[in-house]
Symmetry: C8
Subunit: 215 residues, 8 copies
């Protein structure tokens, strides 16, 4: 989801040079939220925003020890040693961990690259910030992860100045709304400025997959 | 939420010099409730009000020991040492605590500053009161956290005198109501006096974040 | 709530000298119920009424020992030593108890004063009765906490005699009803006698706060 | 409730000398049921009725020992030693028991007096019967707690003879019905004979209070 | 209930000498079912009927030992030693058992008398059968507890012969139906023969009371 | 239920000599199902039918030991030693077992007699088969418990030949349907052949009673 | 159910020589599913079908040891040693197992015979395959349990060729549908080719009975 | 399901040479999802796609040890040693595992062949990749499991170029929709290009069967 939003924002900007994206962060704009926000022209945090948590994580629960205690055992017949990936009823297989660590690392590198390009920072600078930690608004500003700090009214004022004309406000309630808004924008080419309140409402799935997640 | 209300009240006052905000506290006006009330022109507590609890808190439950007892274990593959922030299934990592203590301290300093400015008190005076303790109405008055003590009828009488004319009473039932009321006030510039029954109905979220919370 | 009712009754009496308030107690009129009833002109108990329980109480459950047994632990990052007031997962902090004992004592003194004034008794007499104990109707009469004992029909008869004319009976079903009734009475100035069946329906809240409570 | 019914029946009889109340007991007419029945002109038990259980009881569960075992503890800040009356999480306080024993004893004496007057028996005779025991119909008759034994048809026949005319039968389904029936009877003065199937449907409340209860 | 049905059947028979009651038992016609059937003119069992269980029983569960184990204790303040009858949280009091044994014995004697009279047997004969045991149809016939054995069609044929005319069949589905049927019969005096399929659907109540119960 | 069906089938056959009953068994036609089928003119099993289980059984669960472990005890006040028949909270009383074994044996003898007469076999032959065992279709045929084996279409063909004319098929869905069908047949005398798919849908009751039950 | 379907298919084929049955298996066509499919003219498996599991099984859970541990005991009064067949509360009786093993073996022999006849294989060949194992489509083809392998479109093409004309497709959703379809086919004699997607939706019953079941 | 989709896609391509199938993968397109996608003309992964997990798996839980601990035992009467396949209440039988390993291996070989043919890769190359591991988009591209990487807008652009005309977009929400879409396509022959968002929504069944599953 975060990657799709990110791509939609990039295309929105690319479709017309006098369009731009202005992000005003909520109290929590971490991980996938920051991923989607990174390509904006300008990012304003609230004074109370927590942001950062740049990184990728996969996690699951292993119950092999519990199963042993209560007398459950797994009967698995599989065609290959890794088909049974992270079977929760068996002790953790280090090969399985290595197989999953690889896409985690690749997605992490992509995330770092996106932030570096979006924020116009050296990759090594981003990598040093991207150990998963969270930042207050003040520390995010110091580290150039955001451009300024302010309330919604400040964001509106700055947007009017930048858009140099009449700003239309769209109401949208969830991740699907913002996406269809951005997609319709791609087609009708009518809005000259938007405020994206990006909410990292990442879908929950039972299979382990890479997430840009704030614990 | 508290910070947004606080900002809206500040802008309301700033928009017209003969407007002011009069806060009449309920039985419990602590932490975020006091945060929002601080910029009011005048604060009246009830005789039975508890207020204070000035400070910031984050908390979560760690179940690493329980998981060990019953035989659950966490399998996490993360791109950085802090991505897995305060993972409840692992022993508490002191780096994680340090990362979160920083924004807690910054938000605390902001809270103290807001109270000092709103109540026109020296920062050091506020800091001495702001260790999280609660105050009775009488002690809050002694410490200048409120201006006076009275019932709703007293508040109404004093408001009529101050507003020097007809006071309009608006009914609003929750935090969203008061916010839209204040925002509409910014636009229509018609009300000359309001009573804010601020209720610190802070949104509950599962991720640890800074709160101005009365336990 | 009890303090608001108490204040409304005081204002009702003050608004017109030939108005008065007659309280007929139910089977249980303790603590906050008695608090609200105290300023009435006359109080009649039923022969089977339990009243009293004059005092203030705050209570919560501490589960630190339980948490230790099952392997849960609290992770709290707070800006001050008292922000984490009576955290149920940590051993009880004696400073926290002292902070809360202070408003309990102040509210208790207010309660004693209200009873002394309402019942026209010396403060020391009230203080001796106000250790939280409950009284039967007979003992309450002996101690002057009520004026007389009787059934609803007796109350009606006595009220007719005092009001010296036509008594209007209002039906009201809960604490909000009686309050709006008393408030409307303040405005329309039409009722000459009321029977208040005060029910101490105190709102339940999860935060510890002072209550006038019969266990 | 039992005391209110008792009072309503007394007033019904007092309102007109050629009215009377005839009670026909069900299979169980104990405690509060007998309390309300006592002032009737005549009481008929069924051959299978259990009656008696004259007395007053309060009871609650103390869980102090259980709480200690599982690691819960009570944190109570109260203004007086008896405000925390019979706190279930603390060992039973003998002062608390003494405070409650007093109204139990007073209500018991009132109950004994009501039976003595209603049944025209010496107080000492009633006191000897009123240790809480239950009586069969036969033993209740021997002890003059009832006047006769019979089925509903016998009750109807005897009532017709006493009322000396047309008996109207009212259907009512619960305690509220019988009460409103008796109250309307007080006002319209039209019924000359009633059969009260008194059901001791005592309201359940969580606070300990005196009850006339058959276990 | 059983005693009421029994009385209604007696009155039905007494109201007109050429009326009689014919009972056709179901698969289980024990205890209260037999109590109600006893006054019939004629009783036919099915070949597969179980009957008997003549006697009276009261029972409850005592949890004093369980409460001790888990740390619950009872706090009871009662006006007399027997008010707290068979308190399940306290060890069984032998006085309480003696108090209840008395009505059990009296109701038992009444039951035995009803069977002796209804079946025209010596009281001592009935007493020997009435130790609570159940009887097959054959043994019930041998012991004269029933008059004959047959199926419903046999019952119908015998009834036609006895009623000497047209038999009306009434459908009724539960204990209330049969009772109102018998009561209407008392008033309208129109039915000349009935088949009572008596079902001992005794009401379940939480208070211990005497029952004519087949376990 | 089984005995009633059995009786209805007997009467159906007796009502007209050119009527007969043809039973086509389902996959399970045991115990009470066989009891009802026994008087048929002809019984056809399916190739996959299980039948037999001829006998009578009563069973209940005794929890005396469990009650002792957890600290529950029974308080029973009964008028005779057998009123408390097979009380699950007390150790099994051998007298109680003997009382119940008697009707079990009598019902068993009746069952054996019904099979012997219905299938025209010596009683001793039936008794040897009637130890409760189940039989496959083939073994049931060998032992003359059924007359032939076939599918529903075979049954229909054979019935047409026997009934020598037009066979009316009635749809019926449960035990009540078949019973009312047979009863109406008794009255209207119109059907010349029926197929009874007897389902031993025996009513479940909590009191121990004799059953013809396949475990 | 499986045996009924099997019989209906046999009769369908027998009713008209230019009719035939073409089975196209789903992903799982085992045990009872194969039983019903065996008499088809032609059987096509999918490439991913599992089939086989030829055999008969009865199973239940015995809880005698559990009952002993928690203190439950069975009280059974039965007329014969085998009436209490496989009582789950008592240790397994080897006679009971022997009684049930006999019909299991007989039904197994019938199953083997049906497959041998339907697939035109020697009985001994079938018996060797019929130890309950499952087969992939390929192994089933090698062992002649199916005739060919293909997808639904292949089945349709082959059917059109065989039926030599217009094939009508009937939609049916469960076991009852297919049965009524086959039965109506017997009567109206109109369909010349059908595809049977046999689903072994065997009814679940609590009594142990022979099943053709894939675990 | 996956095999059916795979077959439908093959037939769709075969039905008209200027038709082709373009797959755009979602975040997770593993196992059965990849199986169905393999025959497409062209496969585009998202930058964040996880794919692979090529292989077959069957699994169930064995509770023999748990059953032994709590005192449950299995009573199974079966016609052959393998009828009771992987009975969860008995220790795992190695013959049973061998029986199931065979179709797992055969289905695996089929899966490998499908991938080799669909992607035009040597079988041995596929076999080396098909040990069940997952691949990131980048690694899948390196290993030729996909043809390119891009977002939905890229897929649309490429499709327009390939289809050389107007592309109709169909909305479909689940596996049934896509199947009926493909089937209707087979019949009406009107669409020239489709995008298949294949979701491996494999049906959950309680019987062990081969699955192409990503854990």
């Amino acid at each position: 989801m975060a990657d799709e939003l990110h791509d939609a924002i990039l295309r929105f900007r690319a479709s017309n040079t006098n369009r731009f994206v202005f992000v005003h962060m909520g109290d929590l704009c971490c991980s996938g939220g920051y991923y989607a926000a990174a390509p904006a022209n300008r990012i304003m945090a609230r004074p109370t925003t927590l942001t950062g948590s740049i990184g990728v994580i996969m996690s699951t629960i292993n119950i092999a020890e519990l199963a042993g205690k209560i007398g459950l055992s797994d009967v698995t017949i599989a065609s290959g040693g890794n088909k049974d990936l992270l079977n929760p009823l068996r002790p953790v297989d280090t090969n399985h961990v290595a197989i999953l660590r690889r896409p985690v690392q690749q997605l992490y590198d992509r995330f770092v690259g996106i932030v570096a390009k979006g924020r116009n920072l050296p990759v090594e600078t981003v990598r040093a910030l991207a150990d998963g930690r969270v930042f207050s608004a003040a520390d995010a500003l110091t580290n150039k992860l955001v451009d300024c700090i302010g309330h919604e009214a400040d964001a509106m004022k700055e947007l009017r100045k930048l858009a140099d004309g009449d700003v239309r406000i769209y109401g949208y309630s969830d991740k699907n709304d913002i996406r269809s808004f951005l997609e319709s924008a791609l087609i009708f080419e009518s809005a000259d400025g938007i405020i994206g309140k990006l909410k990292a409402a990442l879908a929950e799935e039972s299979t382990p997959r890479a997430e840009y997640r704030a614990r």
